[in-house]
Amino acid sequence: MRELPTEVLVEYVDEQTPEEAPPFESVERAVRARRRRRNVLATAAAVIAVAAAVVATVDLPRAEQEPAEVTTTPTPGYLDDGPPPAQFKVGTTLLVLQGETAVSSVRLDPHRPSMLIVEVPRDPYVAEACVPTTVVRILGQDASTVRIAAYRYAVGPEQNEGRQCVQPDESPTAVYLDLRQALDGRKVYAGSTGYRTLLN
């Protein structure tokens, strides 16, 4: 077996070996610098954790708060469960409840067994705004009946959308109302009180 000339290698390594070590302080300085870096990182992590906790704590009550009275909905037709809100927004337009209005007819959507098409006459004395102002609500439903009511809203004060539409529509407003369960022959009462039956 071939063996390397160890003395040559040892001599070479000796040539690369310095006489003495540099001052130990350089190692201690490096240790201190490393500790400082670690502390800075730990402090930064702690600050971030505290900030995250503060944000979470501040956000929590917000999530638990009652919804604001002013709600934002894309279409009034979706505001269909329970009593009507006092006001709501369509985009940036504030709409304020004026009162209940009559329902002229109710029919079932031929393609959707849970969808009612509710017609509400327009108010001939009030200029229609360019945003939907009629809302139909489901006030209650059980195995044999469904009670609905229509409400009129007006554009709130100092709203640009309160201007009269150029070509106001004369026909009744048709509002689609999803019962979320098939009507299935149940009676439909219109109005918050009384038993005015419009379907079945």
Binding site: E20, A21, V31
Partner: protein, 170 residues
Amino acid sequence: MQDFDGDPAADVAALYRRTWPRLIGVLVSIGGSRADAEEVAQDAYVKLLSRWDSIRRYDDPEAWVRAVAVRTLVSRLRRQQVATRALAKLRGRPTDVRGPDGEALDVAAALARITPAQRAVVVLHHVMDLPIEQIAEELQLPPGTVKSRLARARQALAPLLAVKEVTDHA
């Protein structure tokens, strides 16, 4: 197990003064610049000082520092070698490795012909007199790998260094 007087900084400082020069010699021989060797060595002593409470109980704390430094340097050199080869490929020029200069025994040039990992086992075995098992432990390799690296290194270095034929009586 060695005796230390209990002051971590003083203990490590004493070990540092005693072992630093040889460690630098070993690291420079394995490869890289003197600056690389000093940086890697300093990093190893910094780690030693931070973990002195547990390492002081070892039989040979010097072996621990050397193992950390050699492993770090070998992996650093391996990365540099990969980068150099990739660069040479991009430029379309082969990596230039200088051979021995005439009759002069150029150990550095001979060592440059083998890989950093092979240089590490050659230096640790032939210069530091470490047995195969200890090298395997320090480099965290199977003993078989150390043996094969050593054999390949000898084979590569044989034509470059003055070698003598010896009979293996083992």
